[in-house]
Each structure stands twice: as structure tokens, then as C-alpha cells.
Amino acid sequence: MSNNTKIKIEHISKKYDVENKALLFTKGNSAHDNFVGHETDFVLKDVNLEIKEGEFHIFLGASGCGKTTLLNIVAGFLNKTEGSVKLDDKEISGPGSERGVVFQNADSAIFPWLTVQKNVEYGLRMRGVKKEERKKIALDAIELVGLKGHEHKYPDELSGGMKQRVQIARSIAANPEVLIMDEPFGALDAQTRRTLQDELINIWKKTGKTILFVTHDIAEAVYLGENISIFSVAPDASIVDKITVPYKYPRDVNDQRVGEFIKYTTEQLENAIRASKAKHEGLQKAENEEEAVENEVAEANSVAV
């Protein structure tokens, strides 16, 4: 990890225009039932963060706190309401190939009409890289994610885990400076998830990319990240705490110390949630909230390995 700042987030706030909150439910967004704000509230308010080059950075927070929102702003898919996001001192104004994105749902993100190899070559093709070179790079990336032998298969012949690997390889092959990943393993079963986590660490080590990784799984956060940004809850969510994980890779979640660090992180998250809830509803009510906070943490942790 160098000391150059790669991404600089300053005073970011975000407000959605929502006509009808019921819409959110119909989109199957039941995890966000507990969004306490009104349509006109800020989801994110005054978020500040610096990420160094080559850093593996985690966003951790309860469901619905705005992690995806912030990520989408960094990726350039969403407009911020206030503030600035800079990549290498240049303001971000839209999507760009220097920021590769790995989406949660591989099914909707990869191109079903292209073979694995063509999917992986996609970014290179867009940039006009010659066929031979494209192939070489793609095959390397495919090998890196452990899909060797599946180059000529189509996505509908792959399992969920393999599709997610394709997505990662596709991002890697395009050689972005930053890799943005939104709960990339959230939809996978535990076994596949664990394998892919290890592979991701290897890839990061090999390529030295800056990684921005969203999860609401505390164990995953501790297992993967160098630094963890902890979010308070929406509305007016922001990054309220930053934890540095002091262990070397590969980490072992069954290790006593790591286990304790997970506990510590859990507490920090609890505090963050409690504090922001207290702020929302007035300090005197904070005590009563204790239980609710625990619930939220439990939920945040609900897909823990």
C-alpha cells in the first residue's frame, strides 16, 4: 500500500427523489423496511474518506444505510447531491474504465450472449485492443479466477459462483486502477463464498489494485479488509468510524484473536448505529433503543460465515 491518496471523498451528501415509498417494497427491497427517513431526507450526509492507492477498503454498515449509494457515486452511476469525489485529484463525473465495478448480481451484470472469454475481453475490445493481445490478457484473467477450461462456455452453462468469477475476471482484464465491489459474494452459498474470498485476496496481492468492497457481513469485512469504514444508519448516514485490521493475510476466522476482532468490530458497529439512532430520536431515548440496535447488528451480520 503506497501513501498516495487514490480516492478522496469530501462532504458527500445524497438525497433521492422518491415519488412513492411503496415502490421500494415492490422492488423486493424488503431489507430496507427499516429505513426510518422520509422521501425527502438525505440518505447520506457529509461523508468524508480518503483511500490510499493499493488499499483493500471495506464499507461496513447495516442494510439500507447507503453503502451502495456511496459506491454508485464513486463508480459514477449516481449523481451526488453535494460534495466532491476525486480520483487521483480529478473530480469524478461519470463511469470510467479506470474504476472497474463488480456487481452483486452476476446474472444481470455479465453478458449472456458472449462466451466467458468474450465477456472477459469486453473492456479490451471497447478500448480497441488487438485480438491476439485481448485473448492473451483474457486467458490470464480467466486462469486467475480459476475458470480455465470454461473459456468457450456461455453464462447459462455456468453456476452462480462461476458467473461471479467471470465478472471478476472481466473487471480484472480491463485493468482498472480501482475495483469497486458491491457485496459480490452476497448471493452465493457459503462454500463458494469462502473460496472466492480467498481468491480475491490472491488477486489483490498479485495485481495491487485499490479495492473498495461493500458488505454487511462483519466476518467477511474482517477477513478481507485492511481498513473498514463503518456507517451509521440512514437518514443522514455517514462514515462514523474507521478500523484498521491488524492481521496479516491469510487470516483465519477460526483464530481466537481474529474472532475477538470480529467481536470488537461488532461492538463498534453497534455503537455507531446506537449513536446515530440516538441522534435521530433525541438522546433521552437512546436507552430504549438498545435492543433495536442489537437487532440491526444481528441483521448486519446475518450472512456471517
Binding site: 463508480a75 459514477g76 452511476f77 461519470g94 463511469p95 470510467g96 474504465s97 474504476r99 472497474g100 465495478v101 456487481f103 448480481n105 444481470s108 451484470a109 455479465i110 453478458f111 449472456p112 450472449w113 458472449l114 469486453y122 473492456g123 471497447m126 478500448r127 456461455y154 453464462p155 447459462d156 472481466r170 473487471s171 480491463a174 482498472p176 469497486i180
Partner: protein, 253 residues
């Protein structure tokens, strides 16, 4: 045993057999010029098969349908893609589509003849006009079903607006385009009668439309059956080819 019965029922042979029987029975009660029987129809059929007229009619109508339909595809698909992808195009063109799709092609019969002459042109334009709407409308629908995440992915992999149009919008809309193409083909076949009311001397539509002028109800039946059979198999063929070659685009047939 049960399986064979099933296969037979599924193949539709029984349905056709029943239809033929009903046709035969109904025709017993009527004169040939009113309701020709299957046998009378077959005699009429033999007549125009043997003198070569039916083949000529089929080949000319098939040509017209294919040409008119191809043009509808060539215009309709890009227009539909653009409307679906770019809101400004949508706002500008959609009102016309939602207007003209209620204006029947045969309403333009005389006009097309006047404007485009007695040659093939006016007939092709009529077929194209009739079959372009399902193509455009389905293409638009197809573009709208594309998950926005795909565009985000393309753009963050370095694709510009044009590239993402070509590499995401176009392939993503393929299944609906195919539906549109199939419906368009059926409309093209349907509109052949209208087109061949326009200064034609041959063709299946001409056969159907003018046979009554020569009191040959049996030929009307021959024309109708031929159109139905052609359409049936053209559609089956189109589905088959698409299913084989466009499987990975999500075409399920």
C-alpha cells in the same frame, strides 16, 4: 402406448382430421360456389397446381412478403432500438407510431397506388407499412427490459454511448426483436391480400381477392389454405432457426 397417443394429439393431426371432417359435413349442405367441400377444393387445387398458376402465385407472393418484411425489419429494428434507448427519439417518434398503428394499410391502398405506381414498389410499401409496427413496438419493449446494470457494467468497462448501444442494447433486445419479427412476418403475410388488391396480376392475395370475381370459391379456399400453411411453416422455421442460433441471447422459441 399412452406416450404415442400423446405425441399424436400434440402433433395436431387429430385437430386437423376433425376440422376436415367438419368441413366435409358442413359442405354437404351447400353448393360449391357457396361452400366448397374438401374434395371440390382439392379439385380446384389440382387445376391450378397442374397449370402452374399456383406455383407462380406462391412464388411471387413469397417474394413480396419477404421483401416487404425485410424492409420492415431493416427500418423497424433500428428505429425501435433508437426509440427504446434515447428518450428524445422516443418523444419525437412515438406519437406517430401510436397514431399510424391504428391506420389500416388498406386505407392507403389507393394512395399508395397513386404515389408509388402500379409496380412492385407500392405493394412492397404496403406490406412494409403493415408489418413495421409490431417490429418497432416489440423492439422498443425489448430495449426496455434490458437491466440497467448491463449499461453500467459496459460503461465502467470503458464503453462509450455508441459502443454500449451496439454491444448492450442491440444484443439485449434480440429476444423481443425476434418476437417482433415473427409478428411482423405474420402481419406481412396477412397484408398480402391487401397488397395484391393493388394492380396485381398474380400472387396468393390476388388469387384470394379475384377468385370471387370469377366465381371460384374453391380457389378462395385454396388461397386461404395456402396462406395458412405457408405462414404456419414460416413461423415454425423462424422459431427453430432463432432457437438454435440465438439461444444465448435468451431466445427460448
Amino acid at each position: 402406448m399412452k406416450n404415442i397417443t400423446r405425441k399424436i394429439i400434440k402433433s395436431g393431426i387429430i385437430s386437423w382430421a376433425v376440422l376436415f371432417v367438419i368441413w366435409g359435413i358442413v359442405s354437404l349442405f351447400y353448393a360449391e360456389s357457396f361452400f366448397p367441400s374438401p374434395v371440390e377444393t382439392f379439385v380446384g387445387f389440382k387445376e391450378i397446381v397442374l397449370n402452374g398458376k399456383l406455383w407462380e402465385d406462391i412464388s411471387i407472393s413469397v417474394q413480396r412478403v419477404l421483401l416487404g418484411w425485410s424492409r420492415a425489419l431493416l427500418i423497424g429494428i433500428p428505429v425501435g432500438l433508437l426509440i427504446g434507448r434515447f428518450r428524445i427519439v422516443n418523444w419525437f417518434i412515438e406519437p406517430f407510431i401510436n397514431f399510424f398503428r391504428f391506420v389500416p394499410a388498406i386505407g392507403f391502398l389507393t394512395l399508395f397506388l397513386m404515389w408509388f405506381g402500379v409496380g412492385e414498389e407500392s405493394k412492397l410499401i404496403l406490406i412494409t407499412y403493415a408489418s413495421i409496427f409490431p417490429i418497432i413496438i416489440n423492439t422498443i419493449a425489448g430495449v426496455n427490459t434490458i437491466n440497467p446494470v448491463k449499461y453500467q457494467a459496459a460503461e465502467s468497462l470503458g464503453a462509450n454511448r455508441f459502443q454500449s448501444f451496439i454491444t448492450v442494447t442491440v444484443p439485449g433486445a434480440v429476444p423481443s426483436i425476434l418476437t417482433g419479427a415473427r409478428l411482423g412476418l405474420s402481419t406481412a403475410i396477412i397484408s398480402i391480400v391487401g397488397a395484391e388488391m393493388l394492380a396485381a396480376n398474380s400472387g396468393l392475395g390476388y388469387l384470394v381477392y379475384t377468385s370471387r370475381l370469377y366465381y371460384r370459391t374453391d380457389w378462395i379456399f385454396v388461397g386461404i389454405v395456402t396462406l395458412g400453411v405457408l405462414g404456419f411453416f414460416a413461423d415454425k422455421f423462424l422459431r427453430f432457426v432463432a432457437k438454435k442460433s440465438l439461444k444465448h441471447y435468451g431466445v427460448t422459441g
